[in-house]
Subunit: 422 residues, 4 copies
């Protein structure tokens, strides 16, 4: 296993730059404050889904890259590279059946040897993997036999998760309708709730169940769990183990996502995140690539709620992107850094000052307090945390210098790769 042997290749130039930029931070912040911030940042980690390691696509096509992983083992190898270089990606989130292990024990041991664990398991009832079709829905289907099949699939996924050491189940549904009239809007929701109740009944006591809302795609008229309001209604009815998951791309145009995060925190039902970014729909772009300020504002709500104790448990953090054009490992390295930076910026916010200005309705100074944190160049803080963990100052350069992708291209031949130039 060559994976963990990937070398950190930070250049002298990049080390010097880091020293200069970190020294600037040492000038700017008192040591205790700086170290406390770095400690919080050090504690941050995010899960990587098994499907994020292969090139994604759209309904119009997929353009595979070289050296893609061909199975769950190779995918974990790739995650281990991300974790090795960032120190912040220690868990894999498996999708069943796409990455269902034949031998859970072997997979768990393999992961353990790579220093990896398992995050939430993900069920799939939006494709035809079973005997009966999910064309017209799964947990919401009009036919009780199809609903039962979908419930059974989720219970099976829980079983797999238990063998791997997971402690949560994420249910994202494609259920919905394309045309007015096709589906009874209230009954389909009621059936979904009943099906989920049957799943929660069998959920291990230590587990959490995450429901995920999405306004459209693959259903284009109405989805069953279209927004956080519907997700909340489900989780209220399902009890304390059920919580709402926020995918950053699952919102209508102009949605204030940080406000939804605040509302879910207030309702005690924020379960976690699927990180990505989007400009139009569920574009699944690199986190922070389109709306970096929004990402910061979301972390600001999380830090704020941690400070005042409103956030009982830490939310589950997971990346959920489709890497259509970028090398998946590179995109993940970039994403982890982006998350570390957004979190660092949120930690920099002077909460006492912010609170003071909010209380006095000094809108400009309150805003400026947030902007001051966001405008700060925190790349050296994230780099320093990685460095101290034994990761890379510049994970991307280390990765490119390592020759890992080239090596894997030889090891993992694929038939469908077209060159972009001769």
């Amino acid at each position: 296993m060559s994976t963990t042997s990937i070398q950190i290749h930070d250049s002298i130039e990049s080390a010097n730059e880091h020293e200069r930029d970190f020294a600037h931070w040492q000038d700017k912040l008192p040591e205790a404050e700086l170290e406390s911030l770095l400690a919080s940042l050090d504690a941050f980690s995010v899960a990587v889904p098994s499907w994020a390691l292969a090139t994604g696509g759209t309904r119009f096509g997929r353009f595979p890259g070289p050296g893609e992983p061909r199975n769950v083992y190779e995918k974990m190898e790739d995650v281990a590279v991300v974790h090795r270089l960032t120190g912040a990606a220690p868990r894999v989130s498996l999708h069943i059946p796409w990455d269902e292990p034949e031998d859970c024990g072997a997979v768990r041991e393999f992961a353990s040897n790579l220093g990896l664990g398992f995050d939430a398991v993900n069920s799939n009832t939006f494709q035809d993997n079973d005997i009966l079709s999910y064309k017209y829905g799964s947990l919401c289907h009009t036919d009780p036999v199809v609903r039962m099949q979908a419930v059974e699939h989720n219970l099976h996924v829980i079983g797999v998760g238990e063998e791997l050491g997971s402690e949560s189940l994420t249910i994202w549904l494609g259920d919905g309708s394309n045309f007015p009239g096709q589906m009874h809007l209230r009954r389909s929701f009621e059936w979904t709730l009943r099906s989920m109740e049957a799943i929660v009944e069998q959920l291990p006591a230590s587990w959490r169940l995450f429901t995920e809302h999405k306004p459209f795609e693959p259903a284009f008229y109405a989805t069953v769990v279209q927004d956080w309001g519907s997700s909340l209604l489900l989780c209220q009815a399902l009890g304390p183990q059920a919580e709402c998951l926020v995918d950053l791309g699952h919102h209508l145009p102009n949605t204030n996502v940080e406000l939804i995060v605040a509302r879910l925190i207030g309702a005690g039902k924020l379960g976690g995140f699927h990180f990505n970014d989007s400009m139009y729909g569920d574009d699944d772009l690199t986190t922070g690539s389109i709306h970096p300020y929004q990402l910061f504002l979301i972390f600001n709500e999380l830090v704020d709620a941690t400070c005042d104790g409103a956030l009982a448990a830490e939310p589950a953090y997971m990346i959920d992107q489709s890497h259509n054009l970028k090398d998946p490992i590179e995109a993940l390295l970039q994403t982890v850094d982006m998350l570390q930076c957004a979190y660092a910026q949120a930690l920099l916010v002077d909460r006492e000052a912010l609170n003071h200005y909010q209380q006095g309705n000094d809108a400009l100074m309150a805003e400026r307090t947030l902007q001051g944190a966001f405008r700060s160049d925190v790349r050296a803080l994230a780099a320093e945390v990685r460095r101290r963990k034994g990761g890379a100052l510049d994970p991307l350069s280390s990765f490119r210098d390592s020759g890992y992708r080239l090596l894997k291209t030889a090891e993992r031949p694929t038939a469908d790769y077209h060159p972009t130039s001769l």
Copy 2:
């Protein structure tokens, strides 16, 4: 009082056309079915807000029309015309302080003589009507003295409503923030809830309280009650008298409004509607003028829920439009007809067939069942109901023929009217 003496002026031509078109319906539907539909339609009515009788405007300007009512008495006169011609607008919804009566008893008697009653009263804490400014919020304000002032205003409005015979209070808040950081997102919601609790405590036992959500305007970053999810959280906490009001224009782009209606029905919290239409934001256009199919689909949910008993009480129906370009009375006549037609179409839906196709996932036939009702030309049904009530087949023509506006233009001189041609 000349108002109620407005004459019905249906022309012979229009009477003949009606006879022909209604006869076509008599051919199409069995008599019992037709009469049952007409009876349901006959029972439908909608409230008119006092501010709908004057020309509305935007922040860029207002173009007053001739003969605008100058006080609450003249506004009621105008509502009486709408009711006289349609038979379906028997209630006025007063806005306090814009149309606060000096003498409630006199106003109530005046209304009663016109055959009118009073619907929900509306409070206003989005403008500076009190000693302290609402610039930075009202029920959500950081300063408890401002919150108390806003609560007191609402209690005052309830008092006015009791004198008039109203039985509900609608709270629409402008509260929110324009910039990230300006307002603490969770605390401002919490304060809003506490303020509303203080109001509900004093709400008469027979009253209902309606909360209204809106994503933006006048606040352009975050509103306190931004969507139905937040509105639901409030109403769940406030108890059985509190219900959610749906303004058709208070949604983000691409929102499936009928789905929200279905969810609120399912949650037992649908309180009522503010009818209008919009293409971009809270445009407050004539109901059904932009998305007539959506209006039908909303009524379809209401009829469906009435049929299966999911709708405990009838929702409160109110028009809430800004008549910037049309004569307000004419726009209201058009609106009432549009609502009657949408309701008639929803009543036409063959629910047994729809249910059958939905159950069997025959998407096309289910959709076609709805479309068949929507494509039906129901104008003669609405006209027939009006005719039987003593209203007009064609309210607009009757109104124009009546010379009412001209008469009022003489009676109600205004200084700021510019002609559109010389």
Copy 3:
């Protein structure tokens, strides 16, 4: 060839209903006016793309239906059924290479025997069909060799079209970028224009070239031809053979599509339409299923421009839908009827009255003139036109009664079909 032998199965009941409803129209309209309207309606036809006959899907999955056509011959058979029952779908639009004929002469003869001809041919440079990848663009690619490959492909498609008797080429590009910085925004547009110039140079003199804009998908940050403005710039530079194509689903939220149609007519650059409907993005739903009033308003612009001579040539009409849940033939039958009805409604508009009210700024009466046409139940008019052509009053019932799909399910076995119930 059993296709054209599909029988018209209009029931006596449906014939009686038609007679009743059409008689109502005969009462309503003077005979000359009615016949003139029917003649216009009779002249309307729409092209069907070869990809519309198979079940579509999303990136999350595809749920195949039974009896799907497996090649271009079977697809034409299915189109012939649509044409047989509606009398308004006489042309097929081929996609190259998905449905590239091995023997164009044979395919042309086959089509001719079915009474079908060929509409625009469609090139595909959004997938990897060639030696070099289009992952990073085609006509806009930074590498001149890839651009040349894409140009050559288009020239090849023109060649195929010439053999089939097509007279236009539609270029829809997936070209664009997912991330700020990825693509030089001006240079990529410039290269696209240069590539298109190379194509137009070789375009047969009698041909038209259609450029199609789309704001996103598969590119999620910036597309090269993102809106009608960019499409117009291309067509202005490309000369008189180039015109803009409007796909109803290729617009940002809240776009006024009929206004774009009006602007393109005014600029002399409206080439044609890809008909579908959408609620969120390029949903490719059945035309008129979500925004039927918008569809009518688009036809209203077309009829209006025909009346005042602003529309030099008739636009190219094509259906472009993804039939994910409905039987494709059924969806097409529904679509053709929907188009016929929208056109009939637009023909019903009293243009003289409309013009009069517009000129006098009588907003309400002008709107009511349009609404009067839209609210009319024109299904009997479309049915009458089909009847006179030898098509079906109710194409869908005829199709279902025919047993065609069942027959084809036996003839065209597929491996990947899952039942939705046992």
Copy 4:
């Protein structure tokens, strides 16, 4: 005149911080590169509209602040403060008739004494300022007399501008319609063009005319110049003096504004900007307050086009915000700093590297090149430029310390100010 005597009050602490942070930049960049960047930044300036100095409002209300300027002289005094503290706001853009000078010569001299000049003049045909009403349009009106009145008004505005030393006219139209059918979509555009031709005919040879597009508000169905495509059609027809103005808030949801900037540059028709920010519509929030990355990407296009010579003349830069909640002067100080920072970041982009990565389709490295510039903390660069000009390191603190607003509150009493706390 006490205005220009406003003192720079940078604290020692803030001077020390600046020294530290600017030294960091001196470490990071070679001196020549740094000085070149500062020189470009020094050359940047932006115009302030006369209406930006008073508190703005929405259709729901306006909450005036203390010490608002009451006339054009007081407004210029306030602009002079902004210019004094930032060194980058040397021009006023007058709105006619809101701020029409009675004595242009006196106003011009007053401005000159304050070190201010005049930018574009703005006409107003969206309110009733003339004899005939603009309720149903101005340049597009169906009545030629109203169109002539609107043309005359614009010619009058040009005359005022000539007396003041302005060299451009900005035409923003409220023209449009609220309902389908109300306005003939093509004719209203044609009339607008004809009216503008009449204006351009009289435009002084050295002047530029800017057309501004906007999708909605105050018209809520269709505007006459709804997007850059329509604006482009007008400017193409009007000739070389006419150019398109981009208001950042005048776009549909999800619009890629930097792409429109690129297209207008490519078409040779980019005239200038109205800077602000928005989350939902034409929210007129502080520039960069919602989408700071977008602001950077727009400046990136401008710098890029300057580098390759695509931008013939410098665009006209103007702030166009509505200061509803913030002190207008404070909001403008914040805005100028935000613009300086965004421009500094765009100047920091390594264009050679970016070009290299774009050419090789290295999406991640190209993006990272942009992100590197955006993530840089450039506040010290903007401050240094201000310092060298004799402005403030921290304009806001200087302003607050100056007591200017308090002084003006005494000098400029208003009746309608409510306190926010007692």
